[in-house]
């Protein structure tokens, strides 16, 4: 195992530290709470000459993503980071990045999407991008932010993938909370990440290419199909990257993390930092002899359906926690889990809980309440319930 050093840092620092070791050629970014510290830390690395990266302090997130597209197409490794309204302002170009198959990695610090304006955590920002063609990873803590950011570069740049990746961390909860994080030595991280092999770079004037042409009904569909296939390749590619990472760090990643699931009859499913709280409650309930478990989702896009089906079939009940709503329809994670379970041999009872919108606290009591509802068989499929809401 590699020698590491442990530091007490925030999730934002963890992202910036990973970016320092990745040392992209170009970073174009614009500040927005709670993402701001990432670009601030990174700008300091640039100012101090710690990295050779060219920093472009653009005038908006729309231009940040646009400049990243230009830089990545030119043949550079390019990154940015954002949150909430910044991500929404990028939206148009977020799709274009994926459709140009540019291997961009972007830390996203999740925050409620206006309005009314709110700077605290929920997942409404990133959920609005779930069909944009980006790979979406979710972190439970700062350690995962660091680890997944490094792995994201490998995944994005893999020749069978060539798709952009969002590495999501919960606003303030992870981005501003201080935790001990194990950090790899620079050379080890750099070696793991490797060099970008640019494909069809614009700066190769001997082999001129046209990016972003007009693509009508005679080819557009086929190009979308190629994107769909590239997304599917993530299932083949990610495990080997995670295995390599495990060999270096001893930390094992996968599409999902099953926690105390072996004999669990009541399983909770969630994204992000809340998984830490759920683990705590699972431990308590286990001590009380309750057969509960957790299925943490690391990868939301592409959605690891086969894995989820295998792990959830035959359970008594599955409780899905969503940190965003889908107005007039089912909450996004619940919807995805429910549709995955349509084909399983033995379907669990399902429950949907929306929680934490706009940074509303989630605590062990609320998680326990949701588990108890399941254990008392009080779940009604498609009845959306709320945790921590005053009614």
């Amino acid at each position: 195992m590699t020698k590491v050093h442990k530091e007490a840092i925030t999730g934002a620092q963890a992202a910036a530290y990973a970016m320092k070791q990745i040392e992209p050629d170009v970073v174009a970014a614009y500040p927005i709470t709670p993402q701001t510290p990432i670009v601030e830390y990174f700008a300091k690395y640039v100012a101090d000459g710690v990295v050779k990266t060219e920093m472009v302090p653009v005038e908006s997130e729309h231009s940040a993503m646009s400049a990243v597209v230009g830089a990545a197409a030119a043949g550079a490794r390019a990154m940015t980071a954002t949150s909430a309204n910044g991500l929404a302002l990028m939206h148009e170009i977020v799709y274009i990045t994926a459709s140009m198959r540019l291997p961009v990695v972007m830390p996203v610090v999740n925050r409620a999407l206006s309005g009314p304006i709110n700077i605290h955590c929920d997942h409404s920002d990133t959920m609005a991008e779930r069909d944009s063609g980006w790979i979406q990873l979710f972190c439970e803590d700062a350690q995962e932010v660091y680890d997944l950011t490094l792995m994201a570069v490998r995944l994005a740049e893999h020749e069978q993938v060539r798709l952009p990746v969002m590495v999501n961390q919960d606003g303030f909860i992870i981005s501003h909370g201080v935790e001990p994080v194990e950090l790899l030595p620079d050379e080890v991280a750099k070696k793991f990440v490797g060099e970008l092999k640019p494909l069809y770079p614009l700066l190769d004037t001997e082999h001129p290419v046209t990016y972003g042409p007009l693509d009508l009904y005679d080819y557009y569909f086929e190009h979308k199909r190629q994107q769909i296939e590239a997304m599917k390749n993530v299932f083949k590619v990610f495990p080997s990257i995670a295995e390599e990472f495990y060999n270096i760090t001893g930390r094992r990643y996968n599409f999902v993390e099953p926690y105390k699931m072996e004999d669990a009859q009541y399983v909770m499913v969630a994204l992000g930092s809340t998984n830490g709280t759920i683990k705590y409650v699972v431990d308590q309930l286990r001590e009380e002899g309750k057969k509960v478990g957790l299925l943490k989702i690391w990868m939301f896009r592409p959605f690891p359906k086969a894995e989820i089906q295998r792990l959830l079939t035959g359970r008594k009940a599955v409780v899905v926690l969503d940190r965003s709503a889908s107005f007039g329809a089912e909450a996004p994670l619940y919807e995805a889990i429910k549709s995955s379970l349509y084909e399983v041999a033995s379907k669990p009872l399902l429950g949907s809980f929306v929680y934490g919108l706009g940074g509303r606290d989630i605590n062990p009591e609320l998680v326990r309440f949701a588990f108890e509802k399941a254990m008392k068989h009080e779940l009604v499929v498609d009845q959306e319930l709320y945790l921590g809401l005053r009614e």
């Binding site: 050779k52 230009g70 830089a71 001129p208």
Partner: protein
């Protein structure tokens, strides 16, 4: 020896200009003439052009997949962000050169092309940002005074009295009532920039400004009057002459602002009334049928006269007073 049209013609008899055959632009369209003249100048001077294009008529007509008319590297990203996109390309170039990943020998010329809609209106923010940050690129606005790709809508560049689909000449309202936005002044207001107007009816002036922009160590902005035969409703073989008429009527004065120093680069000895320019184009047909036509034409005449005087005064006042 400055470049001449003859020299360009010689150089490019057996050499690609960058924009090759097969595009679907209308015959006589001003946009490809503008683009070609810029690319030929750059190539003739030993630069390798890398191009960003904003969504618009020229972009959709020159890159219909699986074909492309571009034999130079080309990227179209979206409508409002060509300046930001090219600033990313240019930054990548600097980064890769610094880290030794690409050779420093090659002379690149980074061009961003946009129509008036993508420049005066929706793309102004990203253009301003890129100019303020000082990327070394040449932004060329091909100004056809309306949104052509979407079918003759008004833009911030459409002159008063011109008929457009979103500001039509009606019984009550005489089309667009506002004057053209003064885009050159806006861009020239960025403290470190070379900004100029050109028209391919004056190719020598055009080429020398591109040459200046190429050697300028910061952002350049070039506004090229580029008539649209469809919208202006002019005969295909008239576009070059119409740009000449625009210069002779003061409608499109040729000048430059080099870090705050104004210079009028063409001073016709005699001028023609602006109505001559207006009457060549069917887009003003409805205006000309209105009882208040003369009032509007007088307003435009008054405006172009004042602007001309102002330009001469600025030339005098800023002489030898560069901002930097």
């Amino acid at each position: 020896m400055p470049l001449t049209m003859k020299k360009l013609a010689e150089i490019f008899t057996n050499k690609e200009t960058g924009l090759t055959q097969g595009h679907r632009m209308c015959p006589g369209c001003g946009a490809p003439i503008t683009v070609k003249l810029a690319l030929m100048t750059a190539k003739a001077l030993g630069y390798e052009p890398v191009i960003g294009f904003a969504t618009g008529c020229m972009e959709v007509s020159s890159t219909i997949y699986p074909f492309t008319s571009w034999s130079v590297p080309y990227i179209h990203n979206a409508f409002e962000n060509v300046a930001a996109t090219i600033s990313g390309v240019e930054t990548a170039y600097r980064a890769l050169k610094k880290s030794g990943k690409i050779s420093a020998d090659k002379k690149y010329a980074f061009f961003a092309f946009g129509g008036d809609g993508g420049t005066y209106d929706i793309g102004l923010q990203s253009l301003s940002g890129a100019v303020e940050r000082g990327h070394k690129f040449i932004y060329i606005l091909y100004d056809n005074e309306g949104y052509m790709n979407t079918g003759n809508q008004r833009s911030g560049s459409t002159p008063p009295g011109a008929d457009t689909t979103t500001a039509p000449v009606g019984k009550k309202i005489p089309g667009k009532v506002q004057l053209k936005k003064n885009i050159v002044e806006i861009i020239a207001g960025h403290e470190y920039v070379y900004a100029a107007t050109v028209a391919f009816g004056e190719p020598m002036d055009f080429m020398s400004k591109i040459e200046k922009a190429l050697s300028f160590d910061g952002p350049s902005f070039i506004a090229a009057l580029s008539p649209c035969v469809r919208y202006w409703r002019v005969p295909e073989d008239q576009t070059v002459d119409i740009t000449k008429l625009a210069i002779q009527t003061k409608y499109w004065p040729l000048y430059e602002v080099d870090r705050g120093v104004y210079k009028v680069t063409r001073k016709p000895s005699t001028f023609k009334p602006v109505s001559e320019f207006i009457k060549t184009q069917e887009r003003f047909r409805l205006l000309l049928q209105r009882p208040d036509a003369q009032e509007i034409i007088d307003e435009i005449q008054h405006y172009v006269d004042r602007r001309w005087e102002r330009l001469l005064a600025l030339e005098e006042a800023t002489k030898d007073k560069p901002i930097r």
